[in-house]
Symmetry: C2
């Protein structure tokens, strides 16, 4: 089985940029970058000192691995235009099926890194769980080897598991972050800087991970503290959407912890 050495990045966004650096830092080569945006393609390619293109048909064939780090709605179109036939091609989406790449190559896979990537935040991929899936045992072995060169936490998950994981990640990352932004807006009403909440937010995350969130729950809802809940709803009388959200989550916490538990 041939080892992966040369990698083509199809996409130049946050995920592509983080993966590119991890590939290079692991001693492999990024040989070309594609993005429909000339600016994104040239920036990432410049950083890596490799050629780039903005037309998917100009992507060179013959790489060991094509990583399609594209938005979900771009994958179908772009992947169908790549001039490859049996080169291993993987997408990085948490929610798309493996078979979306059926028309792209005979050898396909998924390489889904479970993390929130942003510009200007360096994240070591070593600690990021990576979920892989491919269309053959040989490809799985090849992709698992590649993944293990980048991350210490490689999971071979079928699409069904990966999709639940992606959904759980929305509840563990995107939605909590939105609640943080509600806090930020509430504090702004009284000119209180958001960073006063930093130690609380960090301890909340650390505790949930250390003892499990069900055991870590604190606050008025789990105490069924009707007086405080009422006072909070009064404070929110000018914010009906936030007030409704407060009521809904509070009722769910009470139901979970005071009735029969679980979902």
């Amino acid at each position: 089985m041939s080892k992966i050495n040369n990698v083509t990045l199809v996409g130049a966004g946050n995920v592509a940029a983080h993966l590119a650096m991890a590939v290079v830092n692991s001693g492999m080569n990024v040989v070309q970058v594609y993005s429909r945006s000339n600016r994104s393609a040239s920036m990432l390619a410049g950083k890596l000192n490799v050629p780039f293109c903005t037309d998917p048909q100009q992507v060179s064939p013959g790489s060991d691995l094509y990583i399609l780090a594209l938005s979900d709605d771009a994958i179908t179109e772009i992947s169908s235009l790549l001039p490859i036939t049996d080169e291993l091609a993987v997408h990085t989406s948490g929610s798309l099926d493996l078979n979306i790449l059926n028309g792209t190559s005979e050898n396909t896979g998924v390489f889904y890194p479970l993390q929130t990537f942003s510009k200007n935040r360096d994240i070591s991929l070593r600690n990021v769980p990576v979920c892989i899936e491919t269309n053959s045992p040989e490809n799985t072995e090849k992709l698992a080897d590649f993944a293990a060169a980048l991350s210490d936490k490689v999971y071979c998950f079928p699409s069904e598991k990966r999709k639940i994981l992606h959904l759980a990640a929305v509840f563990a990352c995107n939605f909590p972050n939105f609640l943080f932004s509600v806090s930020e807006d509430l504090l702004a009403l009284k000119n209180i800087p958001f960073d006063i909440l930093a130690p609380l937010i960090q301890e909340t995350a650390a505790k949930a991970v250390a003892v499990s969130p069900a055991a870590a729950q604190t606050g008025p809802a789990i105490r069924n503290d009707i007086q405080t809940i009422g006072a909070h709803l009064d404070l929110l009388h000018n914010e009906p959407a936030i007030r409704d959200l407060y009521k809904i989550i509070t009722e769910m916490i009470i139901r979970k912890h005071h009735q029969n538990g679980s979902l």
Copy 2:
């Protein structure tokens, strides 16, 4: 102005236990512990090697400070039974008025540490924001000195600001933790251990604090990715309450970021 040296703890729960250790570690004395529960009182008092009582009328007068670390609904009853007159008495609640202690002493205050405290988790109070408020400038100076001996982040906030902060803390701690528990339950459906989400949860917290949550938002909702949102709702067809919550928060994120922002 007399400095605070001797502290009586009225309450022996998580907050009381953490404050007691911080007092002792700062070179002051805890002189007595009260709790209605014999077990809680004796445990904390034993750890501190000081006397305890389970009758509020047996609390000794003459301490420099009485910290009432009690549940909100216990404060009114217990505080009215304490045999003190002009000793400084403070409660630790984020949501109660200062004047709830009017019948307790001539000198009253609030000492609200903004953190989630649990048994078996050591938290240094040095990094915990403490909000204080008292009924006189002299008491504020005295309590601020005491607070500064325990924490590097002391804020003199009127009740109005403290109450908004307490509400914001529910959105920044209790509610995100509940969402983590939803993730945990979803993963359990497919036998995926919750700790796979640990790096994501930690990075989400770190990023929100570093760049502000509004700037840190990622995920299907902020991308208005209807396809992924639809797939997630389909996955939740057997969990109507969780499905509704997903829809509500997703719509709020879309509204916040694609319409006129703020609350």
